[in-house]
């Protein structure tokens, strides 16, 4: 009897900590910002446990029965917690509130467990033995949970199955008490029925865990929004489907993880091959870290300066595990310096020069963004380029918006830069254009130093990228200036026609 109770203390403690870890992980996974999520979840959970402990004193009679009810409830709620959180993520207006309500309820129930247990065992032990036993088993369980959760359960079972597994353990404790002859409780029939049903429900769910996972993930991620936040500068939206993740800024697709490597390899490697020995690189925009990921394949680079307007972007792509897995945690690279500032202002207030400059800014879809494609902007960029340096500009689709594309080209040229246009096919974007530019007459890039582990880009591919068939061929356009914003007008018209 005593051993049974003490083992159940350890199990209870393990389960309790596991639910908290699950909620914290899911919250930071679904809502981002793991530090805040984890600490608020832990706070709410501990506080609720306190409430539970306090209320345990109001349980006057039938302590054992109450304990069994609590176990079954914890088992069900905790067991299904991650299933619930996954599947309700997109269907609840106030998901945040829901997650706290759930964790709060579980916390209260778990808070009841130990005090009740102590009262059940108060006649079995001396008080000092009781306290020391209970707490040592409690803490041992906690250690077990905190080690097993990341090392075994999450990698082996995933979150859904893990929580179901511990739900089953909770219910098992209840069942052991219910079916143990030595334990004297009233209304055993009802308990037997409820306990067994709960056990079976959880067990079935556990066995079907993979199917549940797929179902809930579908519900959550089938081109569904998994993250959305309005910053002072833009609306950041992440969606996901079976094949990958998409990022939208103000509703414009920025990348699709299934084919972004095409976009970023084509952005980075030509310009890197155009400069003899690039040491210092500047990225304007590119807070998603993909361009950095490509750059750090060059061991010769000494420093990378990234200037992205929106701290939320760089934070998201650093901290969110799903996203930093996509960019290989590039934003943590020791050679990288991130500055969250307006690119135009940064250019005007800094003096450093760079061998390579990557301009990966959002499309010129409004007048504010249009300013980042003007001759004034490129003049400012040119002042940061070394004599033999080169830059590349992501420059919309020459197929959908040929006037826009060539307007950017002509604007670069008017500032005295020599240009080399190229384009490539990216399934989620279509035919996409880039512009290389340098102060010296354009040579062909020398690809001998290019990293070998690329998935898409190759020197012969580049040859074809430089070819512009008739429908995307050069056109004369106006120069994009602050006082005419010719590009924004072209862009508006061409993309509207295309839709």
């Amino acid at each position: 009897m005593r051993i049974l109770f003490l083992v159940s203390v350890a199990v209870i403690a393990t389960c309790g900590l596991i639910y908290e870890l699950i909620a914290g992980t899911l919250a930071s996974y679904l809502l981002g910002d793991s530090i805040t999520q984890f600490s608020t979840i832990i706070g709410v959970y501990l506080f609720s446990m306190g409430i539970g402990s306090y209320f345990s004193k109001f349980v006057q009679k039938r302590i054992l029965e109450t304990f069994i009810v609590v176990e079954i409830l914890v088992g069900l709620l905790g067991g299904f917690s991650s299933t619930l959180l996954y599947s309700l993520f997109n269907h609840l207006e106030s998901f945040q509130f829901f997650i706290y309500a759930l964790i709060g309820t579980i916390g209260i129930l778990v808070g009841l467990e130990i005090p009740l247990m102590m009262r059940i065992l108060k006649d079995e032990f001396d008080f000092k033995d009781l306290v020391s036993h209970i707490f040592s088993f409690d803490y041992a369980g906690a250690l077990l949970a905190s080690l097993a959760f990341p090392l075994f359960f999450v990698p082996q079972m995933g979150l859904i199955k893990t929580s179901l597994f511990f739900g089953i353990l909770n219910v098992l404790i209840a069942l052991l008490l219910i079916f143990n002859r030595k334990v004297k409780i009233q209304r055993t029939r009802t308990f037997q029925l409820i306990g067994t049903t709960s056990f079976i429900v959880l067990l079935v769910a556990f066995v079907l865990g993979d199917k549940i996972l797929r179902y809930t993930e579908d519900m959550a991620y089938d081109e569904k929004v998994i993250y959305s936040k309005s910053t002072p500068y833009q609306r950041i939206t992440l969606t996901s489907d079976k094949n990958g993740t998409k990022l939208f800024l103000n509703g414009n697709l920025q990348f699709y993880s299934a084919d972004e490597y095409r976009y970023h390899e084509a952005l980075v490697h030509p310009v890197m091959s155009l400069v003899a020995n690039p040491k210092k690189v500047l990225i304007l925009g590119g807070g998603d870290g993909f361009a950095v990921r490509e750059l750090i394949k060059y061991k010769t680079i000494e420093s990378i300066q990234l200037v992205d307007l929106d701290p939320e972007m760089t934070r998201l792509f650093k901290r969110n595990p799903q996203l930093s897995a996509l960019n290989d945690s590039a934003l943590f690279h020791p050679k990288l310096r991130i500055t969250n500032q307006d690119a135009f202002i940064w250019l005007k207030t800094n003096k450093h020069v760079y061998d390579v400059i990557l301009i990966d800014l959002p499309d010129p879809s409004n007048f504010s963004l249009g300013k980042l494609y003007t001759d004034q902007f490129y003049k400012a960029v040119g002042e940061h380029l070394t004599k033999n340096g080169a830059l590349v500009v992501q420059s919309t689709s020459p197929f959908v918006a040929p006037k826009s594309y060539w307007c950017i080209a002509n604007t670069l040229q008017i500032t005295g830069l020599k240009i080399l246009p190229y384009h490539t096919f990216i399934p989620s974007f279509g035919d996409w254009g880039y512009l290389l530019a340098s102060k010296q007459a354009t040579r062909q890039p020398d690809f001998s130093k290019m990293p070998s582990n690329l998935r898409f880009f190759s020197p012969d591919a580049f040859e074809s990228m430089c070819y512009f068939p008739k429908d995307v061929a050069y056109r004369t356009t106006e120069i994009n200036r602050l006082n005419n914003q010719a590009l924004v007008h072209y862009f508006e018209t061409e993309w509207n026609q295309f839709q």
Binding site: P232, Y233, S365, L372, P427, G430, N483, Q485, Q499
Partner: protein
């Protein structure tokens, strides 16, 4: 395959026809804001009038040259003196800030004008101003034949203007009107052909009759008859009348002169359209230079040539003769609450004419020709994120058809940084419902909260929802806005006569003297006066 189509831009029409709707774009709106009335306190300004009880000064200061008024005219005198190395002059200004009608305000979000806010690209004769613009970087360089390349950063950024008409924003103003009133186009065409005729019209001396600045215009006023009738009468006579053109011309006159076509002379009305013949290499010939803080930028550039020689919060109360060819001024520093006497051999008065007349009441009581000045209010609001998706994009100049308020300037339009939320809009309204003096009287006793309520209700007549978005409201009331060139002011011989200096000791420069309240005129008057001072025997000697 489409990079943009995830969420299409909503083109929500306005819900109540003819009214603009703000659509909340971000945080929850509130109704709390900070209110500020800028400018010298009314009570202080009025001490100029009650002159009977003037105290004796606590100090006496002597100066070779004193300039009263740090508006553009006074600043231009100082700038051109300072450019030659002169330092023996002092500018006295009653406001806390220099610039006169070209002052500015500022919040964390950005700067905004309190009055004058733009300068068109310049006529080529105006070399001193071209030089100045070159010196401050607003002209980057000149072509070999002397045509300027303007600094794009200072040219008005796209989108430049839009008009709210028929419940929708339309790009452009004239374009928009013609879109709504296509039948009236022939009248417009005739009108503009006539204006072109005047643009090229030369006087007997072979010079253009309409030219800015006035110095280069023809002296033979053979179009004097046009100054004897109102612009409205002229338009009626020539059958240049239709709904859209009527509104447009009234708008133009109210915008530049503070009064509608009925109260402006035909000469002045035509001047608006015929006096500009700028050329530029890299922008259209009617392009505009502008800065977030408006012409205060130019004022501060002028003042940076002699920053320590300007004394603000110093209201000159009276000017008296002090012996032969010397003047004694009594000035009140309303911040320090001190009275000082200034004695000078050269006094330059750069205030409006009515102030000039009052200051000189004891010394020179001739019958001054004083023009009408229309009162204005200029109100700047900082708004929380909003959008008014009903047609054309938010532009630099946003004009509202058939509304008492002219419209508003979007001050962040000139900003190169990406916007990060709040917007700063400056609304302009000339107060021309009745006579200027009656309006001034009405405003004299208005409390700050009454003024605030009036402005808010006016803004609500444009944007009914605006209160929810305001987080800051600053109002500048101009009792005497700018000169309104009414009938027989510009060509009145007394105008020029009364600008002449007196005894080589008393000088005048203010846009009232030009008849047109324009930066160019103020700048040029200052330029001429500085040269006159420098050429006067004794000035350079006394350096």
């Amino acid at each position: 395959m489409n990079r943009r189509s995830f969420v299409k831009r909503l083109a929500l029409g306005s819900l109540a026809l003819g009214q603009l709707n703000l659509i909340q774009a971000c945080k929850a709106p509130s109704t709390q804001w900070k209110f500020k009335r800028s400018g010298i306190p009314m009570s202080v300004a009025h001490s100029l009038r009650s002159r009977s009880t003037l105290p004796t000064p606590s100090a006496v200061v002597e100066h070779d040259c004193i300039i009263i008024g740090a508006g553009i005219s006074g600043l231009s005198v100082g700038y051109h003196l300072a450019k030659t190395g002169a330092t023996n002059f002092l500018v006295l200004e009653m406001e806390e800030q220099i610039g006169g009608n070209a002052q500015f305000g500022e919040t964390n979000t950005g700067k905004f004008p309190q009055g004058a806010h733009y300068l068109p690209v310049q006529n080529l004769e105006n070399q001193p101003l071209l030089d100045f613009l070159h010196a401050i970087g607003s002209i980057s360089h000149f072509s070999l034949d002397g045509i300027p390349y303007y600094n794009e950063a200072n040219l008005c950024h796209e989108p430049e203007e839009r008009l709210f008409i028929n419940g929708k924003w339309h790009e452009g103003i004239v374009e928009a009107l013609l879109q709504v009133y296509p039948n009236e186009k022939p009248i417009w065409d005739r009108f503009f052909r006539r204006m072109q005729y005047f643009q090229a019209y030369k006087g007997a001396d072979g010079k253009d009759v309409f030219y800015i600045p006035e110095r280069f215009a023809s002296l033979s006023h053979d179009l004097v008859h046009l100054d004897q009738l109102s612009f409205q009468a002229y338009l009626t006579e020539n059958d240049f009348r239709c709904t859209s053109l009527d509104w447009y011309l009234n708008y133009c006159c109210r915008d530049d002169y503070g009064q509608n076509t009925a109260n402006i002379s035909a000469f002045a009305g035509i001047h608006y359209f015929a006096a500009r013949k700028a050329k530029s290499k890299n922008c259209s010939n009617d392009a505009m230079l502008t800065w977030p803080e408006g012409n205060a930028f130019l004022a501060n550039q002028l003042a940076s040539a002699f920053p320590t020689q300007i004394q603000c919060t110093t209201l000159v109360l009276r000017v008296q003769k002090s012996g032969d060819k010397r003047y004694e001024l009594l000035a009140y520093n309303w911040k320090k609450k001190t009275y000082t006497a200034y004695i000078t051999r050269r006094l330059v008065i750069c205030t409006p004419r009515h102030v000039r007349a009052r200051l000189l009441a004891d010394t020179d009581n001739r019958n001054w020709l004083v023009p009408t000045h229309q009162p204005w209010w200029v109100a700047t609001v900082e708004l929380k994120p909003f959008s008014d998706f009903s047609g054309a994009f938010l532009s630099w100049d946003n004009v509202i058809f058939a509304h008492q308020t002219l419209g508003y300037i979007h001050n962040l339009n000139q900003q190169i940084a990406q916007p990060n939320g709040n917007t700063l809009l400056t609304f302009y309204k000339p107060l021309d419902s009745t006579s200027a003096s009656e309006i001034r009287k009405a405003y004299e006793h208005q409390t700050d909260s009454e003024l605030e309520a009036e402005i808010v209700s006016e803004l609500k007549s444009i944007y009914p929802e605006i209160e929810k978005y305001i987080c800051y409201l600053e109002v500048r009331l101009w009792g005497h806005g700018m000169v309104s060139p009414g009938i027989n002011y510009v060509t009145n011989p007394m105008r020029k006569e009364q600008q002449k200096s007196v005894d080589g000791a008393l000088y005048f420069a203010h846009t009232d003297d030009a008849g047109f309240s324009l930066f160019e005129e103020a700048f040029d008057l200052g330029y001429q006066l500085a040269n006159q001072l420098l050429n006067t025997n004794g000035y350079v000697d006394s350096l």
